[in-house]
Symmetry: C4
Subunit: 289 residues, 4 copies
Amino acid sequence: MPSSKAEILGKPLEGWRLRLYTIIFEADTRAGRLFDQVLIAVILTSVAVVVADSVHSINLAYHHLFTPAEWFFTLIFTVEYLARLACVRHPWRYVLSFYGVIDLLALLPTYLALLVPEVGALIDVRVLRLLRVFRIFKLTAYVSEYQAIGQALRASRRKIAVFLAAVLMIVLVIGTLMYVVEGPANGFTSIPTSVYWAITTMTTVGFGDITPKTDLGRLIASLMMLLGWGTLAVPTGIVTAEMTYARRAATTTRTCHVCLTEGHMPDARYCRHCGASLPRYEHDGAAQE
Amino acid sequence: MPSSKAEILGKPLEGWRLRLYTIIFEADTRAGRLFDQVLIAVILTSVAVVVADSVHSINLAYHHLFTPAEWFFTLIFTVEYLARLACVRHPWRYVLSFYGVIDLLALLPTYLALLVPEVGALIDVRVLRLLRVFRIFKLTAYVSEYQAIGQALRASRRKIAVFLAAVLMIVLVIGTLMYVVEGPANGFTSIPTSVYWAITTMTTVGFGDITPKTDLGRLIASLMMLLGWGTLAVPTGIVTAEMTYARRAATTTRTCHVCLTEGHMPDARYCRHCGASLPRYEHDGAAQE
Amino acid sequence: MPSSKAEILGKPLEGWRLRLYTIIFEADTRAGRLFDQVLIAVILTSVAVVVADSVHSINLAYHHLFTPAEWFFTLIFTVEYLARLACVRHPWRYVLSFYGVIDLLALLPTYLALLVPEVGALIDVRVLRLLRVFRIFKLTAYVSEYQAIGQALRASRRKIAVFLAAVLMIVLVIGTLMYVVEGPANGFTSIPTSVYWAITTMTTVGFGDITPKTDLGRLIASLMMLLGWGTLAVPTGIVTAEMTYARRAATTTRTCHVCLTEGHMPDARYCRHCGASLPRYEHDGAAQE
Amino acid sequence: MPSSKAEILGKPLEGWRLRLYTIIFEADTRAGRLFDQVLIAVILTSVAVVVADSVHSINLAYHHLFTPAEWFFTLIFTVEYLARLACVRHPWRYVLSFYGVIDLLALLPTYLALLVPEVGALIDVRVLRLLRVFRIFKLTAYVSEYQAIGQALRASRRKIAVFLAAVLMIVLVIGTLMYVVEGPANGFTSIPTSVYWAITTMTTVGFGDITPKTDLGRLIASLMMLLGWGTLAVPTGIVTAEMTYARRAATTTRTCHVCLTEGHMPDARYCRHCGASLPRYEHDGAAQE
């Protein structure tokens, strides 16, 4: 774990900038932790307000409260944004980073509405709500596991890409097959639509908005369902069998009476450690597959 | 495993209280086991009556039988509750414990109906049925595995919380995205509704009460379905691959040059079959990926 | 694997009975294998006929062919049944065994129709079809893995029972909760119906014939979906993480230059086998969790 | 990995044929890699055109562009096909191989349309689109993992066949049972239809186009849902439990009495940290279940 980020960025920060940096970017001090907790609470509350505002009944009743609340949140996020920019050595690096972009998007809707009063007519209010909801990503900075998960994903990216490509090839071909067999009359209006159906079926989601009506179509659908479900069920079953086999075959509790080494294989006649002969006791019957 | 709970609670119980305690809270004696079995039978029967009573046709035909049956059950549970209170050292501790609350809820509906005759008009009979159904939780005391599962869950609670938070962030953002793309005209009437749809899709439940109609919406939905299903399929596949490697690693292809037995453990120094000394060759390096 | 079943049943069979037994019950001889293959073919064909006969269009076109075919199959199965009874030592044991019952059910419909001509009016032809379809179970005798799977299931039956009981408790309580929240107006007409809905949701099937309409109902439904899906996703993720951890932490390829023992833990400074000092090379960086 | 395929096919190729072979079939040279990349791009683009052409609105707008594009692709694939035939030693072997058939199918539609102008009336344009979409399989030659996956599948084919047979038996019998219980009035019009429903339910897809209406039917459906979901949930849970035990077994709680380091491997004789000899105590028996 690196030491103070303040040093990593080059010339050490001094004075008020260093103190501000410690509060905002680090969580070692009491002030730093308090800052983090307050910010998390503000993020969660502001997103909750956006979500509630989208419900028509709540919107009608409380919109007059939500608008000043939104201004309040925007103010806090603006102060936080400017503070971050003020105390890092390379502001532009922060502006272009993932969190910098998220922060900017968090501020954009409200200022747009201020600068361009007719923005509500140009940009759907729903889009503005979406931009505000992106604030939720600011929370990932506070959970270290996500960095670890991110790395694990990057490490396995080729495996995932290969798997995904195989799935896409299958849904493309089976989708097109259903497009031929069922046809537009039964809902399979084009290849993209049929591929959408194939994905809902292979992933076992099964919306039911499009369903096969012909016998041949239902047969193909059945095969696809077994394929998608089997992709999960077969490895799971094999793994369970492996675990059982490994437990039984690898080690028993037999102990060598000379050197006391434990964990000999069920069929061992001599101790693997000292070579002494092992008596044929009643051992944990290992089911040979 | 603790010894008699009677001692843990402080001053040992005596006489009839101790005998009552042994019957009710412990299952070592014949009376204790009989008590447990009778109680389990009563719990199951009383819940079955509540469930059957909710079916309109059965309700019409048998309600006149169910009401006295319900009184009978309530009586038994009251006696049991009072007996428990009578023989523990700290009654209030039991009253406030999980099982104490469940027991009280089990009794509440019938007594409410007695004390407040118009309760049926104040509280929906469906709520009263729900309170009675909570009795089913009394059964968990009889299955030790549930305590173990409870502990395992508590131990992993941070991992689970992190996983859950990630899922919630994803369904919130994708739900809002669909709210923007599809809009209220297509069923995505508010962000909470869209999040509900996103959860049905990511968990592969797929009710179909709300479905995307636009091409872009169906594309986003496809990505979400692959994400939810892939969360299960990819780790399962990786685990299966790991197991295959692990099997190869547990037993190597090392061969004893005397008796030609294969498959010795990596750290074996003597052949398990004939006792001859095994040379330290370059063995089949457990395939490092 | 036991020797000839002929001996296990007591006094050894002789003459034609022994020969018949070898053909029917064992598969070592050429006649025995031929018998098995013919019987499998007949079973599959007879079931296919039953399945096809249930399709209205096929029934109209081919029923005149299916009836004599059904008589042919019944004849073969009767001969087989009588042959089996004739060459085992304890016929009643076979009659009452699993396969004996299946065989009898396979013959029943056709003979019933013969003895009681109005059987079609008494028993739905659909029930007769079901009895005929049970023949498919005769095939399990030919696949040894099913015996192994059956044993594995019997061995884990307590675990499975505990798991099942927990699932049933959850669907009962959540189902009743939805019955209270949504009510009969929204499809949740009784507790059994609500439990049926809860099962479709927790198992992620999601038919969509009943769906929550209220906001609170949809919230509870979301929790249930996450619970059911999470029951699969969380263990899968933990297992993958464990595998990664176990691979990195348990063994590296470091080799002791004195005794050549491999697979030391990443932080080991001394060889676990001979005590010699291990040099601190660039080893496979094991990510400590 | 074999050396140049050119040699494997017998007499070595010479001159221009060898150069052509190196470019087309191998990826070591710069020209070879360029060829591969261009071909992959052409394959993806041609399939994208077929997919887009099936969407009615796009078809109306751009068909006049798609037709010459399709001719262009067919030309490239023809040249590629002829080039492949020209530089392998046994052309017929390639024509009959998997990729040879795919290549031919890729060319067929366009030439059919040329030679038989009324083909659009004889063969549905949808079928022609399907044949063109098969080109996507040409991509599998470029991903080595698919060969590995193919081999793994072939190796486990008996296990998969046994699993599949069991699933088919179950869906056949339960499907027929629902056919009897629910009947044609509720959507279960024939045994094949009921089996289709049983598959959608067991694989947890749950389209909802057919759903049980009777109480008994819903009960059977519930059992089936629990069976299908349980097939995934139970092994996953068992595997997680196993992993937990395995972690405890890999490192024990043995403590070195000199330096107090914990967690030595079960067979360690010397402390990995300070080199002191470890006494052979009764160590934390890896919890045997």
